[in-house]
Structures are given as C-alpha cells and as structure tokens.
Assembly symmetry: C2
Homo-oligomer: 435 residues x 2
C-alpha cells in the first residue's frame, strides 16, 4: 500500500467536528443536546437568498455569452456585478474599494488558504494570537507553512497585551516570519481589538515589512465597541493588508460558502487571481444568492441585537459558576470557559469533559455539546482545561443550556473521583472513532 | 512593500482564461466570437436542478438539528443522503462503493487539490501524460509539488505508448515519485485509454507502489469505446486508486462546483476527511441540486449523443484543412490542432494566433476563440503551435466556426509575412494585460 504524505498525516482532525459521533449517539439515546460546540447559527437566513434561487435567472451582465438555462462557470474572480455590489457594502464601514480589490472565494476558508500561500512559502511562518480559529492551524500546517503563536490569556480577556515586544522577540528568534494573522472580533474568545491594539499590529507590520492577514468575518457583531476597527483603515498599510471575509455569520449563510479575499496590493491580487483561476470559479448560484441579500439593510442589525441578548444571558448564568473562569465577549458569539481543577489539583481535561457531557451526563434528559479548546492553541497544554461555547440557540434555550453546562462541570468533577481513567479515550477506542 | 511568496509568483496565469480581455474587446467591436476556448458547455442544465432550488427545503435527514430556513453547514464529507445516492450512480458503471468512500468537494478542482496533498509532500513528484488539463500543472506547482510529464504525441492520437518503460525511466532518474495522474477521456486531447493502456498504468502503480489519481469527469462521453475503463475496476489496486470526479460536464453544472474524491484506501479517506474539515463544508444548496439531478436517468445519454454529432462535424470540417494536424477524439469534447509552420519553416505561435483571431481577423464579422496549448505541457515548446478547440456550440454553429477557424489559420500565416513582430505580446503590453 502506498503511504500518504507526511503533511496529510500531520493535519489534526477538527476538535469541533470530531465529537459529532458522540452527539449523534446522545441524540439517538433520547437526550436533548443543546449544540454549543459549533459556530453554526440557528437564525433564519435572509428571505432574499431563497427568493433569488426561486427566481433563478441570468441577468444580461452575468451571462458571459451563455444560454439562460445553463449553470455556467462564473468568472474566476467572481461575478462582476457581485464584486461591484460588495464595494458598496464595504463603503458602509469606511472601507473604500474597487471591484478589482475583491476576489470571491469558497467561504472565508478559501480566502485564508489563498492568503497563506501568497504570503509564505513552505517552511515560512505566520504569527497569530492564540487561542485562534481552529482552521488557522490545520490550514497553515496542511500547506507546510508554520503557525507561531503569541499567547493571550483568559485573565486579560484575551486582549493583545505587549504585542510589539512579543512579536519582536519571535522575529529575533525565528527566520522566515512573513505575516501577522489577526481576527477581531475573535473566534473563539469574543475579544475585540481596540484602536490602540490594532495600531500596534499595524505599526509592527510596517516596521518589519510583514503582511497583515485580517479575518473580519464578525465585523458587525460588536457590543459597545463600535465602530469596528478594520486593518483596512490604516493609511500607509495598503500594501500590507489582506482582508479575509465571509457571509456565513452576518447573513447566516454558513452553507452557502461565500467569502472573499480583499487587498489593495496589486501583486497580492494578481497572485490571488491566478490561484482563483486554478479552481476555475465559485458557485454561480451561490453568488446570485449572496448578491441578493446585500439589498437587505436591516438584517445584520437584527442579527447583532440577537447576539447581544444571548451574550448577556450567557454571561449572567456562567458568572454564577464556581471554580471556573470565563471570557467576557465584546463581539462575535463565542465565550471561552476554563473548567478549572479537580479536587486533586489536576486540570480538568476539556476533551474528556465534552465527551462526558454527551455520553454520561444529563439533567432532566438535557445536556450540552462544547468545543474543547486544546487545538485552538499551538501550546496545546494551555487550552487543555478550556472549552468554547457558541451562542447559537435562542435566549431561553441558552439560559437553560448554560445552567445545564454548569451542573455538568460539577457533576464531571464528582464523577472523576471514581473514574481516574480517561473515559473519552476509552470510548473512542471502543467505538473505533478517530480522535 | 512585503514580497509575495515564490510559490505564489510561480503560478502561471490560465492560458484559457487570459484571453478573456481580448474576447471582450472583440465582442465590443461587434464581432461574433464562437467560444471554442473553454470547456463551458452550452447545453441546458437538468430541470431537476432548478426545481430543487425552487422548492428549497431541508429534508429531515439533512437537517442535522437546525431549523428549516437556515442555510446551514453540511457535514464536511457531504450530505449523507447525497453520498448514498452517488453510490447508486457509480454502481451503474460497475464501480461499487460505500458512502464512506466518497467525500463531496468544491468541484473536481478541490478533489485534485486534496489528492495531490495526500499523495505527495512539497518537493515530491507526480507523473502525468502531457498534454494535460491545465490546472494539473498550476495546482501541483502552487502546492510546491512537481509535475513530471510523459509526452504523448498528436501523431499517436495522444495514446499512452510505451508507458511502462517511460515511467520506469523517470523513476530511475528522479527521487520522490509518488503517483501517476491520468485522465481518460482526456482533456485536452479527447484520447480514451483502452483496457491495455489502463492495465499498463495499473501494473506500474502496483509494481512501484504508486498512487493512481484518476480523473474521470468525462466518463460517459465516449464514442464507440464503451464501456469506459475506470481505474476503480482493477482488483488488487483498491489501496492505490484515488478517483477524482465532477458533475460539471456530464450534467452541465460547471457553475455548481460539485465534485468528489473517491477511494477505497481508508488512510486516504481519513486524510481527505481532515482536509475537508479544514474548509468546513461544500455548499449545502448545491448538494441539494446535485442530488436532484441524479434522478434524471436519460439526461447523460442525450449529452453524449449531442457531443458525438459535434465531434463528427468538427472532424469533417477540420480534416479539410491544409498544413495542419489534428487529434481524432474518442471521448470528451475537445480536439487538439497543430497549426503547423509558417512559410519560413518556423512553427506557428499558437498564442499569437489566438490573439490574431480575436483582434485582427474576421470572416463576415465572425471569428473563433481557442486555447493555446503551450501550458498544457511541461515542455512548453511541444505545445507552442497547438491549440485546443472545445465543442461547446451547436452542430450548425460548430460547422461554421470550424471553417472560420481554418480560414483564420491561412489568413494568419499570410499576415505574418508582413508582421514579423509578435502582435500578441505587443497588444498585451499596450493594454497592460497579464500574459
């Protein structure tokens, strides 16, 4: 049997998705599982999306010479009309672009992939605050690049403290650092970087001639720290910034896979266009849907208001927990919780906890799923006792889910006294589930 | 300004797509351009696709617990129901699969990307017959792998001659050869490999412990050489074969971006699943559309019949040309044409010809676009005088287009006598168009 590549072997399984089999088992056993593990919002997608699909038609400027009833390739960079419509969307946030500064991608995910390839060759390095969005690590690693962390702490609410000296320390020690990767509002922490923090990133990039890859998919979901500071706002940084964006969260179109890579650096956009040509195009159908939702000006505001309510409920309930720490999200719809220690002083294993909640625990037939945070860190030990909660159920359900979650923590710590062996590992082995 | 990576710089622009600006200019000047440059069929997509979008709804088994009106992430490997439905499709071609052998991808393009990453680490090598589908080279190169060619010739109708000794010669000379990449029916040549040729590939793979990446997107478009021989048909080769597939051509859904990676090797599928998790999922909407078209059993047969007619028309007209050679396609919907020499004995520059047809030539206000073949070869000189024609217009139009194309060749050779300078390079420079 031929051997698969080392780079393919070294890609970690998704810690968010690898609990799926246990979620399925829990549901089959009749438990109600509040799904707090994945950033898959429950909110209704804009009606304009469904209407666009219902009245599928080629507008004259989209046709590119083909007949009305063929689902043809779009241009590699995206439909012209869509790219133009997006410039109007960005202008609302003081991000002034030309259509050529935007290439439509298959979700924010492909935009990240392109950005990583454009800034770094195999073996070269990208610095990012940890904890980070899981795919940053697996994507960079699968591309044979290296992700270097600047650790942020739950005690500082995951803000960027002393960013400049920490970055410069890394640059002194490591060769081939090419870019800083940031995400504000942040997944998984909910942290939002203020002007001062963003300026520190911008200054470092300028001074050390680095790219800034700025993932701004949660732009509108900020609570009391508006207007959102974009990396695109800094004059003189135009050649350094590559913005990554997606409609998944703000329009509840996770399944539409609509994103884009944005830059004013012509060499970056030239390279992005060539990478876009390799995969030919992004779904024409989805682009028509994505273009249609841009017309709904009130939708995003209602999304933001809903998440503010949920954030407040989660904070209220979780703050009643004992022996735990948690982040105070100023944006996005996530909260990090440190599960603390067992009686013997050992840190709680968040993976075992997540499994325990699904297989061993319930409160009146209810439980929660959560995302263990170990893989949100390069230094895996740092996140060992942390989980991420996503606010993707309504206010009332979330209130109940958070209290079930807290009870689960106490119950797990109790259960562990009699179960020293790691139940999660045992269960995976028994079921031949990939860990 | 920070510098972009060497690997991003080394990605070639698409030779198929880089003539777009000249096509636009020709159309704006009032010319009718027969589009023979791109494999974008003009045929009507199946009505089932549009119906599925019109009646968008979550079936119970697709919901994964979310509400009806949210366009939610699909599972990373694809919708379970879709993967199951695809096993029935493959069974029609004696390819017996379980749903777990299939992962849905963003077009055949992403399946290729995954396959290349899975079989080879950066610096390692994949062998393929040249000329090849353009994206093979740019994709492998952008992933910092290397594509090694086994040259096939228009004089042999691009069949695999002496494959084994040629491959073994490469293996002797080169380190790190991990896979053979084949595509039958072939883009750009129309070649179909018979049982003997496929067996040579299979034997080599087995003997030298190589993967076989088999791109079978044109499976049904074979003329007189049915049934199609799949790499999946060879007993004992289950662990070696990775099949790449797509609905773009057989269902005229190029813009839907629906493909898959298929293998019976559990390590390959495990790695593919982890790569799939990184980019979260493929469009849920498109998967619903793709699942719906599988129900239309007659559609593909009508597609095949249409291409057979077109192939016959193109062959009839082109065979009347003087001073040129052409391939005799047994499948797919492409034909390679070697434009021959100028009076001075120099080979015709196919790029300059393609430009000339758009900017300088017309016959009664009509002209053709074509795809210069230089970039379909690692040995670029081999394809210098060749173009690929795609049969993506109806029979009558194709008859006219082929005769316009032939006249264009004679006219270009005449024009060159008075224009020794390369008109294409000059025009690109004048318009600041990327070459």
């Amino acid at each position: 049997m031929p051997e698969i590549s080392l780079s393919a072997k070294s890609v970690p399984p998704s810690s968010i998705r690898k609990f799926m089999p246990f979620i399925d088992l829990a549901r089959k056993s009749g438990k109600k599982v509040y799904p707090l593990h994945i950033g898959q919002p429950d909110l209704k997608s804009p009606q304009e999306y469904f209407d666009a699909l219902r009245h599928y038609e080629w507008k004259e400027d989209l046709k590119e010479g083909f007949t009305e009833s063929t689902v043809a390739y779009a241009k590699s960079g995206g439909l012209d009309a869509y790219r133009t419509a997006l410039t109007e969307y960005y202008a609302l946030y003081d991000i002034i672009l030309k259509p050529d500064n935007i290439i439509i991608t298959m979700g924010g995910s492909e935009a990240l992939e392109m950005a990583f390839k454009i800034v770094a060759d195999p073996g070269e390095k990208i610095v990012t605050p940890e904890p980070f969005f899981l795919a940053y690590f697996s994507r960079v690693q699968s591309e044979s690049r290296k992700l270097l962390p600047i650790t942020t702490s739950i005690d500082d609410n995951f803000q960027l403290k002393d960013f400049k000296p920490k970055l410069e320390d890394i640059i002194r020690k490591e060769k081939g650092v090419k870019a800083i990767l940031i995400n504000s509002p942040n997944n998984p922490t909910g942290a939002v970087y203020d002007l001062e923090q963003m300026k520190a990133v911008a200054d470092c990039a300028k001074e050390h001639n680095l790219f800034v890859i700025s993932d701004e998919v949660y732009r509108e979901i900020c609570f009391g720290c508006e207007p959102h500071i974009s990396a695109m706002h800094f004059p003189g940084l135009e050649d350094n910034v590559i913005m990554v964006d997606s409609d998944s969260k703000r329009y509840n179109l996770c399944g539409a896979r609509l994103g884009r890579i944005v830059s004013k650096n012509p060499k970056v956009m030239n390279a992005a266009m060539k990478l876009a040509q390799i995969r030919l195009s992004v779904s024409t159908t989805e682009q028509l849907g994505g273009m249609a939702v841009l017309g709904n000006k009130h939708y995003i505001q209602s999304v933001k208001e809903e998440y503010l309510k949920r954030r407040n409920v989660a904070r209220e309930v979780i703050s009643g927990g004992e022996g735990i720490k948690f982040s105070r999200p100023d944006g996005a719809f996530y909260m990090m919780v440190d599960l603390g220690n067992h009686l013997n002083g050992e840190k709680v294993d968040a993976e075992e906890f997540a499994w325990y909640m699904l297989q061993e625990f319930d409160k009146d037939g209810k439980t929660t799923s959560s995302a263990p945070a170990g893989e949100f860190y390069v230094n895996k030990k740092l996140g060992k006792s942390q989980v991420r909660l996503a606010f993707v159920i309504n206010e009332d359900a979330l209130r109940d889910a958070c209290s079930v979650f807290l009870e689960g923590i106490y119950s797990f710590k109790e259960w562990k006294k009699a179960h020293p062996e790691n139940g999660y590992i045992k269960a995976c082995d028994a079921l031949e589930i990939l860990r």
